[in-house]
């Protein structure tokens, strides 16, 4: 019961973090007061593109912002004027993370039409795809970078996230690009004759449907490789811009569809934090339960399919049977299995049905046992070890590429948002963060296995101390009244009508919030213009940053090892391409 007593503690928002004020004064001293802004617990710096690299370098070296989380392009065309006093139409927004003090800073760089911005790939390797995406989506040009499409296809004309591009403007593609590598002058004639091009995907069992890897092989060793993504670019961010805040929730389900509730939670938490909504304790606890169950089933898909890619089918059946058990719980709770849309802004959509808690505890016990069975089949299997102990990623590289989640921890970096900037009741439950040593596929597997055990233990702890009370915040401007009110009471009816028609309207401004999803830090950057639709939403998908390093990781390794590594990365196309 100790946990219950601690439950009322304020845990949302990091404004009480040590060093918050120090960092603010430090940033003001360094860059001047006119450059510094604050949005709740977010630090914001406003820069121009002049000397940008030096300033970003200062942030990296002096302020120890060692990880680039995201680069987001913004089109200011229809944004309220007070939000862009610089009068320039575009913006590139950098999200930086200091991994020691867990502070974040956001750098907004204003850009006029056609203005070039220096590429920061020299500072963080992970800027690679984020910069390409910013050009693809908004036409922001980075000096020295090729203008290559990333998410849309190569025949695409225009930049879809610009405000003057219609969401319904389809552009069919006639044919896919063929595999091609440019001439390499450093290669001898003899080597050249031994080299061969191999195209893998996008429809290939090892690429899970929508990834394409093009390799140049010498024998079976990969000498050069190119990745192509975007085969599942479903325009999530454009869709957000013409839907209500609550209507975005079903779209978030389909980001990382292996663990839908976590995306729901990430989105709702971002909106709630921005609007200053404190959700009821019961909702927080339920979200934790759902998030941890999702983490388990996400890891099960990863391990199951990775084993299938290598040729071990038995595990797959074992893993999917555990997923079915969790689906059963979800089905009891909301009627859906995979895409659950379980949260609402302000709380949860459904109260637990009778007997759910005991069902869940029972399921947890069964899964716990079966996780050990899966572990017996794989952990000490010589074939599995030999196949997965390849393509190690060092801690330094992992940080530079922007790895988060199990892949980062497998490289030995102790970073988990649930511990480092805890939200909900993660402060009050006991769990450990497993870490790897070598950063190879086997370590990633071990980290995931241990995380499942920890997650199951968290579920048990929370359910044992489940707070009672409402599941949504009782605020007429945020949550729908209950159905009885709507059908019997004119006030309830009007309330319902207004919320459905006008939606939730957060104030003008921008905010970034993140949660620890199964694959790593899932961040939502929201720009609100005071209307019922978000003005711009940018997802920070964890596997996007991880997968962009794939070419480098598999370099000079065997082709078969690339398949094993891809399985251990757990790239989910819905999240990768959005």
């Amino acid at each position: 019961m100790e946990i219950l007593n601690k439950l009322n503690k304020e845990v949302t928002g990091n404004i009480n973090l040590p060093n918050f004020k120090e960092l603010a004064t430090g940033l003001v001293d360094k860059f001047g007061e006119e450059c510094y802004q604050q949005s709740l617990d977010n630090h914001i710096l406003l820069f121009s593109s002049a000397n940008l690299l030096e300033k970003l370098g200062l942030l990296k070296d002096e302020f120890a912002f060692n990880m680039l989380l995201d680069i987001c392009g913004v089109d200011n065309l229809l944004r309220p004027v007070e939000e862009w006093p610089h009068g320039k139409r575009y913006e590139a927004v950098y999200h930086l993370l200091n991994m020691q003090s867990h502070q974040r800073v956001r750098v907004r760089v204003a850009l006029a039409e056609g203005e070039e911005i220096p590429s920061c790939m020299a500072l963080w390797q992970g800027a690679d795809w984020f910069e390409r995406e910013a050009w693809d989506m908004l036409g922001i040009t980075f000096a020295g970078r090729k203008k290559e499409r990333l998410l849309t296809h190569h025949e695409f004309v225009g930049h879809p996230l610009r405000k003057d591009y219609s969401a319904t403007d389809n552009q069919p593609l006639s044919a896919n690009e063929e595999i091609f590598f440019p001439e390499d002058s450093s290669v001898t004639e003899e080597q050249k004759s031994a080299r061969e091009w191999v195209n893998i995907g996008p429809s290939h069992p090892a690429t899970h449907g929508t990834l394409r890897v093009m390799c140049e092989l010498e024998g079976e060793t990969i000498k050069r490789s190119k990745l192509e993504i975007g085969y599942l670019h479903r325009c999530f961010e454009k869709m957000c811009e013409n839907h209500l805040y609550n209507q975005v929730i079903p779209y978030t389900d389909r980001l990382n569809y292996c663990s839908s509730p976590m995306n729901n939670i990430g989105w709702c938490k971002a909106v709630e934090d921005y609007m200053g909504i404190e959700i009821p304790d019961r909702a927080k606890a339920l979200r934790m339960v759902l998030a941890e169950l999702s983490r388990v089933i996400d890891h099960l898909v990863c391990i199951g399919t990775a084993a299938v890619d290598i040729g071990a089918l038995t595990n797959f059946w074992f893993c999917f049977e555990q997923r079915e058990r969790v689906y059963e719980l979800f089905e009891k709770l909301c009627g859906a299995r995979l895409t659950v849309s379980l949260t609402r802004i302000g709380g949860m959509s459904h109260e637990l049905p009778p007997g759910w808690v005991s069902d869940c505890l029972e399921t947890v016990a069964i899964i716990k046992k079966n996780v050990e069975t899966i572990s017996t089949m794989l952990s000490r299997s010589k074939i599995w070890m030999d196949r997965t102990k390849v393509c190690a990623v060092s801690a330094q590289d992992a940080i530079s590429w922007g790895y988060t989640g199990p892949c980062l921890r497998a490289s030995g970096v102790n970073y988990d948002l649930r511990k480092n900037s805890p939200y909900y009741f993660y402060n009050d439950v006991e769990f450990e963060i497993p870490l790897g040593i070598n950063g190879d596929g086997y370590d990633r597997y071990l980290v995931r296995m241990e995380e499942m055990r920890q997650s199951l233990s968290i579920v048990g702890q929370v359910l044992d101390n489940l707070p009672s009370g409402p599941i949504v915040v009782l605020d007429k401007s945020i949550s729908l009244p209950n159905k009885k009110e709507v059908y019997t009471n004119i006030e309830g009816l009007m309330n319902h009508f207004m919320l459905v028609m006008k939606g939730i309207t957060p104030k003008v401004g921008d905010y970034y919030s993140s949660t620890e999803a199964a694959n790593g830090e899932l961040g939502f950057y929201i720009i609100a213009d005071g209307s019922k639709h978000p003005y711009r939403v940018k997802v920070r998908p964890p596997c996007f940053a991880i997968y962009q390093s794939f070419s480098h990781v598999i370099q000079d390794n065997m082709l078969a090892d690339a398949v094993a590594t891809l399985g251990s990365f757990n790239v989910i196309a819905g999240e990768l391409d959005r």
Binding site: T152, H153, Y165, S203, H208, T210, C235, V301, F320, E324
Partner: protein, 196 residues
């Protein structure tokens, strides 16, 4: 009556008529073979999972132990279009993916059937967006549409059973010409990989 025999027809048929009748019997054997072929075909479908998104995860559940599609003879999942006769489009097909879909469909040997699993494959679903194909029937002929986002495993099984019905009836959507282009021409004009 010329002579008595065990097979002498009771009616006063000529021998030619009798032979004709036996010929009819032969065609009945044909139709028996045809029936047997269709029965075999319908109960040993080799699906090609063109899985792109969330529906693919649910399709895995259908193949998995609890729903076990092998009860309907359709568990031999093949990723090679040459070896499969049922394409299950599980997930959203984007503009970038559409040429891939056309090519893979054209690589499947006849007779072939197509299931559009889920709202996205059927109609684009709730993605009325610039990069999402608004229904795969624009690119390839579809036999069965399964509603749902994603459909439940029971719905997928029902879809497969309906394909089996179509096979038994000898119906396939393949004959319909794709409105965009002839996929076979596409394959001839654009070979899979160009060598250096």
């Amino acid at each position: 009556m010329k002579k008595s025999s065990l097979v002498t027809p009771l009616t006063n048929q000529s021998e030619e008529d009798f032979a004709l009748e036996r010929l009819v019997l032969t065609t009945q054997a044909d139709s028996f073979l045809d029936w047997a072929k269709k029965w075999g075909q319908s109960n040993s479908l080799w699906p090609l999972p063109f899985g792109t998104a969330c529906c693919a995860i649910e399709y895995m559940a259908v193949v998995g132990p609890r729903y076990d599609i092998s009860r309907f003879g359709a568990e031999v999942v093949r990723f090679s279009p040459r070896q499969s006769d049922l394409m299950i489009i599980a997930g959203t097909v984007t503009e970038k993916q559409a040429p891939v879909l056309r090519r893979i469909y054209s690589q499947m040997a006849d007779p072939k059937w197509v299931i559009a699993m889920g709202a996205c494959a059927s109609s684009g679903g709730f993605y009325r967006a610039y990069h999402v194909v608004q229904g795969v029937s624009r690119d390839i002929p579809v036999d069965i549409y399964i509603p749902g986002c994603p459909p439940t495993p029971e719905a997928v099984i029902q879809g497969v059973m309906q394909v089996q019905e179509r096979i038994k009836l000898g119906v396939t959507a393949t004959g319909r010409v794709s409105p965009i282009e002839n996929p076979v021409d596409d394959l001839i004009l654009n070979p899979v990989t160009k060598n250096k």
